[in-house]
Amino acid sequence: MRRTSVVLFLGGLAVIPFLVHNPYYLHVLNLALINVIVVVGLNLATGVTGQIVLGQAALMGIGAYVTGVLMVHARVPWWLAGFLALGASALVGIGLGAVSTRIKGHYLAITTLGFNEIFRLITVNETPITGGPSGMTGIPQLRLAGLRLHPDQQLYLPLLVLSVAMTYVAMRVYRSRFGRNFRAIRDNEVAAEVMGVNSRTAKIQAFVLCSLWGGLGGVAYVLLVGFVAPNNFTIYESIRFLVMLVVGGLGSIPGSYLGALLITILPEALRAWEQYYIAAYALGIIIVLLGFPRGLGAVADWFLEPATRTPLSQAQRASPPRPETEGGLGAP
């Protein structure tokens, strides 16, 4: 039953390009799939490891800008540019991870926010390299050989596969030894260290994964759109990723998938209320956090059951007094 539903859901997503020919609708869906990758990465650091990141848009931006700059200025082929961009993202992730071992909580929030703003300042001001405030145009979009379709039609299925694959890998990480260490640090860092978890290494790992996923989203974005501008990667965008994360449920990887789809597509469906939806998001984030801390993850985790179950959550299910199994984000 559950497995059938998941297969039907993904199958439904897969047939969309054959039924929907409006490139704009497909474009929105493509952006949603890219956001899935970025938010899943954010979840690994913020939801699973408990390290607040308010600069995920900048990590995505690094992937996008490095790819774009290499392709335009150095005429590097797209796959090599993408790989180098991922390498750059990983390096930034190591740096942020190292910072997070010294700087915690509120300080980390403001530091990652500052990181996002400094990234924006650099992209706006270093015009010869980045194209300045108006951005960088003419980045060759990715075209599959022999197809004469619109880029959004060509790339929909590859992006769907990529988003599912990256979500699957993240779920595997969640259940692996790494994921266990991450969760241990989130729930109680001192206790985790006492049990032999090297919190320094684990945090750096979490941040590298976070920025790799974010960077990959950026690479996909630039190859799809062929254009980057500083406005695509502002603090406001980072907060939007945070909304997707919270709506999907902090710590639930499949929840992030649904959260990113919903928060990207919903505003397009509700164009008439365009004025109000950001305000509604902001209220939504508070209501979800206070009232439904597991978010859409409650649904998604159930559908994907054995795969989302961890030994810890099994143990917790056995003892009913704590209903918020995965949502319990540790002692205040």
Binding site: T46, G50, I52, L54, R102, I103, K104, G105, H106, Y107, A109, I110, T111, L113, G114, E117, I118, L121, N125, I235, Y236, I239, L242, V243, V246, L250, Q275, Y276, I278, A279, Y281, A282, L283, I285, I286, L289, L290, P293, L329, G330, A331, P332
Partner: protein, 291 residues
């Protein structure tokens, strides 16, 4: 040699940062929450003052200031009871995300109420200049410094000598004991929160004539107020004031000597430097784990 106007405008901005930093300190001491919406309270106050009281209702400066303070105080008390009092019981990361969400909500509320066009209101002083030691100094900057000093003096008197001030300090010190002594803790917390939003109202009104009023104006000021608090010492009242002044002056010196392009980056570099070498800030308080 540094020209005097550079220093004075640094001190003026420093006073704004100090007021914002004090707002963080009061909420932190009362509820152990860092209110990442602090800058947005300032922005909202600036909109109330300029768009509602000064331009629509055409009220005078003094009355507009008082009404803005009153409105922001009420708003603060309401938010405190409806949202922030619930966040006290949540984990830190949830509180951070929720207050960031609160900031976005205020920003959007201002955009929905007042529209996307920026406002400009020069205030009673306009762009008047005052000669000081042979330099022309904008009068508004001197007003900022003057009002900030007066607010801090009144605050000192209130918190040392009035009953409300003593009660607030008692609650910050130990909620349970204060409650046993018959102090209405929840009301006091709402009062402390309202005081913090009143401070941001003052800052917003003072800052309004220097800039266009946009929904974005509060974000950077809010972040820099937080940085000022870190520099001064987390949760310390004199620290917030000193940190704000230092940040304002250093930022202007950096702009003057190095470059104005990366002005906003200076605050972050100062913060990272402090976190690396003196994480407890200037006014150290005994805490085991900080940064």
């Amino acid at each position: 040699m540094v020209p005097l106007p550079v220093l004075i405008s640094g001190v003026a901005m420093g006073c704004i940062y100090a007021l914002v930093a004090l707002g963080y300190v009061f909420i932190w001491n009362a509820m152990a929450i860092i209110n990442f919406a602090q800058g947005e309270f300032l922005m909202f106050a600036a909109f109330l003052y300029v768009a509602t009281f000064a331009l629509s209702l055409r009220l005078g400066f003094g009355l507009s200031l008082l009404l803005t303070m009153a409105a922001m105080g009420i708003l603060g008390a309401v938010f405190s009871r409806t949202v922030y009092s619930r966040l006290k019981r949540q984990s830190q990361i949830v509180a951070i995300i929720a207050t960031v969400g609160m900031g976005v909500f205020l920003k959007e509320a201002a955009r929905i109420i007042y529209g996307p066009e920026p406002f400009y209101f020069p205030g009673p002083l306009g762009t008047r200049m005052v000669p000081v030691l042979g330099w022309a100094i904008p009068a508004q900057q001197l007003v900022i410094v003057g009002v900030a000093v007066i607010v801090m003096l009144i605050q000192q008197l209130l918190f040392r000598h009035s009953l409300a001030g003593k009660v607030m300090r008692a609650v910050a010190e130990d909620k349970e004991t204060a409650s046993l002594m018959g102090v209405p803790v929840d009301t006091t917390l709402a009062l402390a929160f309202a005081y913090s939003t009143i401070l941001s109202a003052v800052a917003g009104v003072l800052l309004a004539p220097l800039f266009f009023i946009t929904t974005e104006m509060g974000t950077m000021v809010g972040i820099k107020g937080f940085v000022a608090m870190i520099i001064g010492g987390f949760g310390s009242i004199p620290g917030a004031i000193l940190g704000g002044l230092l940040l304002g002056v250093f930022e202007n010196l950096g702009t003057f000597f190095i470059s104005s392009t990366y002005k906003d980056a200076i605050a972050f570099l100062m913060m990272i430097a402090f976190l690396a070498w003196r994480p407890q800030g200037i006014y150290a308080e005994p805490v085991t784990e900080r940064a």
